[in-house]
Amino acid sequence: MELRGCTRDYGAVRAVDGLDLQVREGEFLSLLGPSGCGKTTTLALIAGFVPPTAGQVLIDGEDVTGRPAHRRGLGVVFQSYALFPHLTVFENVAFGLRERRVPAAEIARRVAEALTLVRLEGQGRQRPAALSGGMQQRVALARALVYRPRVLLLDEPLAALDRKLREQMRDELRAIQRSVGITTIFVTHDQAEALGLSDRIAVMNRGRIEQLGPPREVYERPATRFVADFIGASTVLRGRAVGADRVALGAGPAVRVAGPRALPAGAEVELAIRPERIGLAPGPGDNVLDARVETLVYQGALTEVTARLPDGQRVLAFVVEPAPAPLAPGQAVRLRLPPEAFMVLG
């Protein structure tokens, strides 16, 4: 599936801005971003629910830009599931097959197959209203897959489920996608989901893709400040380059930065570092900074420590519990920031 230069305007608002995207056969791609970033509109463009103001949509190399939704041969799972309340589970799943004039005996066989795939055998006679949220979601999935569409589109399908169910469905979804091998585009605002499910993630902001790449790359090497902020937590520190690989933070000591490129001497630099990479140091040393604890938030598996550097900048660190030494607000601590953990921004 490919989008070429797709733009979609709603009056004066540009929801999608010149988007270029190529989705590989069989891959699981997530569109990740905050609400309003254009990810749902992008999905609507692919599905054919809205036409692009400019640009093209291609499926298997075919230009389908002008083609209405019902002739694109895609499978869509909606956030609200959109199960037809006046039809049974069986009839819901069979809907797409009936539109394709598949004979009745074949329909029965394939619906049974689809229901087995989503672990809902025997539920055919129920009405959607009688099923739990998790089961409804599986019916929606079966309905979208049963006629073997070319691409599967999922619009925040797990958003309405509670946490435990969400994690369970996430794993099931991945397993089903892998076993069927279908090209899948998954829209979500939940980065944990995107990181856990995807072959590649497209991080979107204001109608554009800020970064496209495998989860590990997006997490460990964010291309822009937005991506660094949106995915995971991070501290952004400002300093000045005092060597090819050294940055001075305020009046304090310089830290070594093991980046891919040499830093331009004397330039203002922005560094990001993930809180889980920062550790408590027993004594002074290389890349160890003095700081004073401001707040502590206990989270069970770890404690979020916010500490202030001498030059006033704040640092967020995760300390795995049980902590090596007891911590209290106002306490002086030493933090080690490993050189390879720094991400140079901009």
Partner: protein, 257 residues
């Protein structure tokens, strides 16, 4: 105390109904309450009075014709209001609901003048034309409520599954509009069968519908025949309204939760 007041008021509202039904069983033409005995002679009179029989037939024809025309017209209009993204939607809504607002005598006289001008004074077509307009707002309102409760995602889902717009309408939209259509049908029938003022102006002895025939009878005679006919009307209306409530939860039509 509130409850007592409400009960008293409900009593006031239903008192006439009770009296009418009681009187309809009165054995003699001299009215007394409570009735001196029980008799079905007035019901028999109703069913055998030729003018009532003719009027009943007219009512059936006019109401049947009016409802048959108003249902599709009103349903399509309701869909257009809800989904059509019309400019001036509230204006369109006002226009579609406007016949209810016009005084009966004004509409009645207007139709009379119009019919006379077209030479249609003795036809039931004018009655049907008037009734369709009078009944349309009720159909539009009922179907609109159903349409508003229809999740648009369902139609998108059907399209994504391969259904063309016509198939979406037939397989998803129409079945889900059934409660509104049924309620609209019921309201239309009840309103048309009971319509009096406009029909008084545009019908004559041959074409008059049942309420007009009743009016003529009441003006000329004083026996309880009309009580019997009224009792039948009341019973039929109660059943229809009760059905409409069961099928379409009238609370949702008129109130908000």
């Amino acid at each position: 105390m509130l409850r007592a007041a409400v009960v008293a008021l409900l009593g006031f509202m239903t008192l006439p109904t009770v009296v009418v039904i009681a009187v309809s069983f009165n054995p003699t033409a001299i009215l007394s309450f409570p009735p001196a005995g029980l008799s079905l002679r007035w019901y028999e009179n109703v069913l055998t009075y030729p003018q009532f029989q003719r009027a009943a037939l007219n009512s059936l024809l006019v109401t049947g014709g009016a409802v048959a025309l108003a249902l599709p017209a009103g349903a399509l209009a309701a869909l257009a209001l809800e989904r059509g993204r019309l400019r001036g939607q509230s204006l369109w809504a006002a226009v579609l609901l406007s016949p209810v607002v016009v005084p009966g005598v004004a509409a009645g006289l207007g139709f009379l003048i119009l019919a006379a001008g077209l030479g249609l004074l003795r036809s039931r077509a004018v009655l049907v034309a008037a009734h369709v307009a009078l009944v349309l707002p009720f159909v539009v309102r009922s179907v609109w409520v159903s349409a508003r409760n229809l999740d648009p995602a369902l139609e998108l889902a059907a399209a994504s599954l391969g259904a063309s717009p016509w198939r979406v309408f037939r397989r998803v939209t129409l079945p889900l509009l059934r409660p509104g259509l049924f309620a609209g049908f019921l309201f239309a029938v009840v309103v048309s069968l009971n319509e009096f003022v406009v029909s008084l102006f545009i019908s004559n002895r041959v074409t008059e519908i049942l309420p007009v025939a009743m009016f003529t009878y009441v003006v000329n005679y004083t026996d309880p025949t009309i009580a019997a006919l009224s009792a039948l009307f009341i019973l039929a209306t109660f059943v229809v309204v009760w059905l409409a409530d069961r099928y379409l939860d009238l609370g949702r039509v008129f109130l908000r939760h």
